[in-house]
């Protein structure tokens, strides 16, 4: 067989962002996924339109290069994907050497899991004259952060660990970040909140709730408190703090301009946040039921829910945003149909599976009670989030 040592000739490559843009736009790409079967089953690259995909593990190319090359359809725009970009680079090199043009997806699934894509929330004219609101979509994990901006000031909600990205985004839009908020102590990803606020010297707020040792320096926020974005003079936008416990005892939602509800993991567009991650599904489940049925009850159907997670590309709207009118979600989200706390808890219990083992470690880091090197965190964060009470249902849809 041919020498499969990675060659010195540079292999053409494509960044995840460009790949997703091409695939979202319906460009006829052929994705050659060279990961092993278990990895493929656990986590796939998804775009807004289905991607033609062929699976040939990279070790098949090592064993029988000619037969493996022959399994790649000819005359296609081939991009090769693996876990971290190393094996796919080797395979793309072999394909190019064999006369099959192919590009390597730089950084593989790790890069896919880190990639951040901003989308502006469509506002009406009156709103747009006062503020801007962006949803920052971590496509590979299904995590959503937000930037609320008015009059040159910005508040960042649920930032990811790549804080440089958020700093650059603010700079690019001429915004000064005045506050960093987390909706809750996240379990599926390490928050960028503490590091971003410390670096910028601005307040950071998150509530862990009773029973947790929170070692982050935080500025506590009261239920009903109003945070004004945009300074003291001129145009401003109000962000109202709403305590919405249940997914975690400290879960907090933020109502922007009276109409945009950043719900964290309280309500998603297809489910609600699972209340079992702390090991107190009955207690937290009751809290969540009360939040959903009582605390959110005064909000109008027109309020737009902007969650911290989504379950898959089927939840992306035509505008590229993950959102849902509260009135629609009240009718369609299965967990919001429960008539009693007991029924609600029973349905949640039936729907969830055990969370990934890494969640307990991530929670400790987000509480500030432990720390971990970046490569370990990267490994913990691999895969889509499993924060919804309908994790099984969402997995079945993929």
């Amino acid at each position: 067989m041919a020498d499969t040592e990675p060659s010195a000739t540079p292999v053409p490559a494509i960044d995840v962002g460009d790949l997703l843009q091409a695939a979202d736009g319906g460009r006829p790409i052929l994705l050659l996924d060279v990961r092993n079967e278990d990895e493929v089953r656990a986590w796939k690259l998804e775009a807004r339109r289905p991607i033609d995909t062929v699976y040939v593990p990279y070790f098949d190319f090592i064993e029988d290069e000619i037969a493996s090359v022959a399994r790649v359809p000819a005359g296609r725009d081939v991009v090769v994907l693996c876990a971290q970009g190393g094996s796919s680079e080797m395979v793309a090199g072999l394909l190019n050497d064999a006369g099959v043009p192919a590009r390597n997806v730089r950084g593989g699934m790790v890069a896919y899991g880190e990639y951040l894509q901003p989308a502006a929330i469509p506002l009406d004219a009156a709103e747009a004259s006062r503020f801007a609101l962006w949803q920052i979509n971590r496509r590979g994990k299904g995590c959503l952060s937000y930037v609320v901006a008015s009059n040159g000031e910005a508040v960042i909600v649920d930032p990811m660990k790549n804080i440089e990205w958020f700093e650059a985004f603010a700079a690019q839009h001429g915004l000064r970040v005045t506050r960093v908020l987390d909706t809750h102590i996240h379990a599926d990803h390490v928050s960028g909140g503490p590091a971003l606020s410390a670096k910028l010297g601005v307040p950071y707020s998150v509530s862990a709730g009773d029973g947790f040792e929170l070692r982050q320096p935080v500025t506590p926020l009261d239920d009903g408190q109003v945070l004004r974005v945009g300074g003291t003079g001129g145009v401003t936008i109000d962000v109202r703090v709403m305590h919405t416990p249940g997914h975690t005892p400290g879960s907090t939602s933020y109502l922007v301009g009276g109409r945009y509800l950043l719900t964290g993991d309280t309500v998603f567009v297809g489910s609600v946040g699972r209340p079992d991650l702390g090991g107190h599904v009955v207690e937290w489940g009751r809290m969540l039921f009360t939040t959903l049925t009582e605390r959110l009850a005064p909000l109008a159907d027109e309020v737009l829910v902007l969650p911290a997670h989504y379950a898959g590309v089927h939840e992306l709207g035509a505008d590229g945003v993950v959102s849902g009118r509260l009135g629609d979600l009240r009718r369609t989200v299965p967990e919001l149909q429960a008539r009693s706390a007991d029924e609600f808890i029973a349905s949640v219990r039936a729907a969830v599976k055990d969370p990934p083992a890494s969640y307990a470690e991530i929670i400790k880091v987000n509480l500030g009670v432990s720390s971990a090197p970046i490569d370990r965190i990267t490994e913990w964060e691999l895969g889509r989030n499993e924060c919804a009470a309908s994790a099984k249902r969402a997995a079945a849809l993929r």
């Binding site: 499969t4 040592e5 092993n36 079967e37 278990d38 990895e39 593990p57 990279y58 070790f59 098949d60 090592i62 064993e63 693996c82 876990a83 971290q84 190393g86 094996s87 080797m90 490994e379």
Partner: protein, 82 residues
């Protein structure tokens, strides 16, 4: 029956498999190859590779921790006489 050792610490995918394949090619049936890797992905990769390469039989996989706290993934492979 020889026991060969392959140090694949610090190597990222695909190198542990590339090197294991090379070492296996040079071994006699019945010989053993012990690969020590630091890449966690090597665990499922070796499981998958032995399904493709019928001369490689995965005898054992275990996890240890070295003196600087790195997780080590150790794979023991036997060269079959296929």
């Amino acid at each position: 029956m020889a026991l060969n050792k392959l140090d694949a610490r610090g190597l990222k995918c695909p190198m542990p498999i590339v090197k294991a394949k090379k070492a296996l090619d040079a071994m006699a049936p019945g010989d053993l190859l012990e690969i020590t890797a630091t890449d966690r992905g090597s665990v499922t990769d070796f499981q998958g590779w032995v399904k493709t390469n019928r001369r490689a039989v995965l005898k054992e996989q275990r996890q240890e921790r070295d003196e600087i706290g790195r997780d080590l993934y150790i794979h023991l492979i036997e060269r079959s006489d296929v």
